[in-house]
Symmetry: C3
Subunit: 259 residues, 3 copies
């Protein structure tokens, strides 16, 4: 059973996601549909790009990912489908797929122009349902990528928030607050090991610095700790607490690591 | 694989929806279960009816829709299952299914009385789990509608909030605020085209009127615009913003379209 | 198709649950995955244990339940998989599974130590993805429980909040507020019938006592009523209203039933 994984900013409360799933199941009744998230803040391309790059690699080969955060729906922005690594990716060409493409160079990108694979009637406001869903379903059915439109070489890239990697320090920032209140940064775990010992010291904004540990349970309840996060980036946690609330930190806040 | 689509006000946080799914999978392990929404405001029949009528048509033929918003659970209100168009619909007879039935005249409605298709023990507070889930699963398994109980002709109708369609103006109201903050009205898209040109002028409450466009991207960031919505009704949006918050509008607010 | 049911405190907004599902589908593409909830308050073992014990029995035989609320992830707490009743249960050995084990004595509990069934690389912060998901998938594939590690006899028990059952009165407390605002107590329905007649009188905190009814619809809109809940426990509702808000009650509040 092929898998189709959905990531949108449609909200989980409305019927929009259900319409997308209905369209998919009508064309490809045997697929397994997985929700990545439908609660991406409206039009927040960075959150969507980061969510996708953080989970795609765990999915089966040939999974079709559909990422629709699409403020330009109905305008002239391209719609694309690509093969990258072992997977397929479908969405608007606005950068939402580009952080994955940095990790997995796409071997084939198509501009979605063959209307045979769209719904018969395409609205101006809901391409998730009318274009991306049917294209994903046909990909899930094994239709070859070349059928969906002409190959393109260029795609829109969203800049990844850069961290400054020095010899003794790394300066980055908070890019995501998760459900636990953990603050995920843009500082890669692999860079931490290059700073030398595990006796690292982490500072957020101008708060008192705190220790780096191996896991949440290395810390003491209520005391901030930095750990190598499961998404591949340094994260700041408060064991048995909520780091974002306890420390008053949010997206964009400066983070400094010292070896 | 038949599809069973669920719409409830049970909330996504609790185990209530999971109980419903467990019951379904025990009887019909091969079905695909799709969530429409479980975050309908408690006992809000209008929101549920509108959600269902906005998405049912995208689903595969023979999909079984289960809509349980059921303030009268345990009372003498009927439970029904119906064939309407290409689909099956199951739920309490309190109007939650009636907006679909306005679009798709039901060819067969049954009063659910054959306890053979219920759970062995039926609680007084959770018919979603004890009656509607097993009936839906048996329908998914191909049990014919006539087995579930006697045919009925009458069903409870929920009035659809009426808009006043004049020659030069249409007066309606906001009936739903979506995750983007877009305000969906009860003014049908097809009526707009009858007003003549696309140079329409839309006013909400006594705010300054604004333009009508073809898609969100026709507008300018931050400036309100009205568009023909993907659900078939006029909606009011603020490109790259939240119309409900920016304009302070909510369900029930008056909307006026002038040609 | 075997079913795998997931209960976590990962939040539905992030990509964490999707990573777990990706891992499962890579190993066991034919399973049906059901979400119980991912919105358990972070690290709230009681809420998770109560959610699981309230719904497991409705699922098909051989369903694999994965319950990951795991403040001790990365520490020395055991990870376990068990057969109890007709089902399998997988999770950390911190009590999250123990309320089910009170109802269904486990016939075989294994300490998860065979790394062959883990992901190749195990992080210190996300055993849901790296250990529990692959183990559940292999169980879903039919791998026998004895392969996952040595049998153990002892497991961590979380105390169930006790109610005091007297001859004429029962004293308990509120343990869960659901999406409707109904307050679920720790007072078992079966104990209510032993108090004699249905003319029971229920008091929360020092508020005015109210009546006991058979179902929500027995009450009048806006007037509090106590009913035998569908989870097996007494619950307090306000028909067409929100009991928790209307009465100002929350988890832990005292409840007294008089016969």
């Amino acid at each position: 059973m092929p898998t189709i994984a959905l990531l949108t900013d449609f909200g989980a409360r409305g019927w929009f996601v259900a319409s997308v799933k209905g369209v998919i199941l009508r064309i490809a009744p045997q697929v397994s549909i997985v929700d990545i998230s439908h609660e991406i803040p409206p039009q927040d391309l960075e959150s969507a790009a980061f969510s996708l790059v953080s989970c795609y690699r765990w999915f089966p080969a040939d999974t079709v990912f559909v990422a629709v955060v699409d403020p330009g729906v109905g305008s002239s922005r391209k719609a694309i489908a690509a093969r990258a690594g072992q997977w397929f990716f479908v969405g608007p060409d606005n950068g939402v797929l580009s952080w994955v493409f940095q990790k997995e160079a796409p071997s084939d990108i198509r501009s979605l122009e063959n209307m045979q694979y769209f719904l018969a009637e395409v609205s101006t406001t809901f391409h998730g349902r009318d274009i991306f869903a049917p294209v994903a379903a046909h990909l899930g059915n094994g239709v070859a990528l070349e059928n969906f439109g002409p190959q393109i070489q260029q795609y829109t890239r969203l800049p990844f928030p850069p961290a400054a990697y020095g010899k003794y320090t790394i300066e980055g920032r908070v890019i995501y607050i998760d459900y636990f209140g953990n603050a995920i940064t843009n500082i890669g775990n692999e860079a931490l090991s290059k700073l030398g010992t595990r006796r690292l010291n982490v500072q957020v904004k101008n708060l008192a610095p705190f220790d780096f540990g191996g896991c949440y349970a290395d810390g003491r309840p209520g005391i901030p700790i930095a750990v190598p996060g499961s998404s591949g980036f340094l994260e700041i946690a408060v064991p048995m607490g909520n780091a974002a609330k306890a420390l008053g930190i949010g997206r964009g806040d400066a983070v400094k690591v010292k070896g």
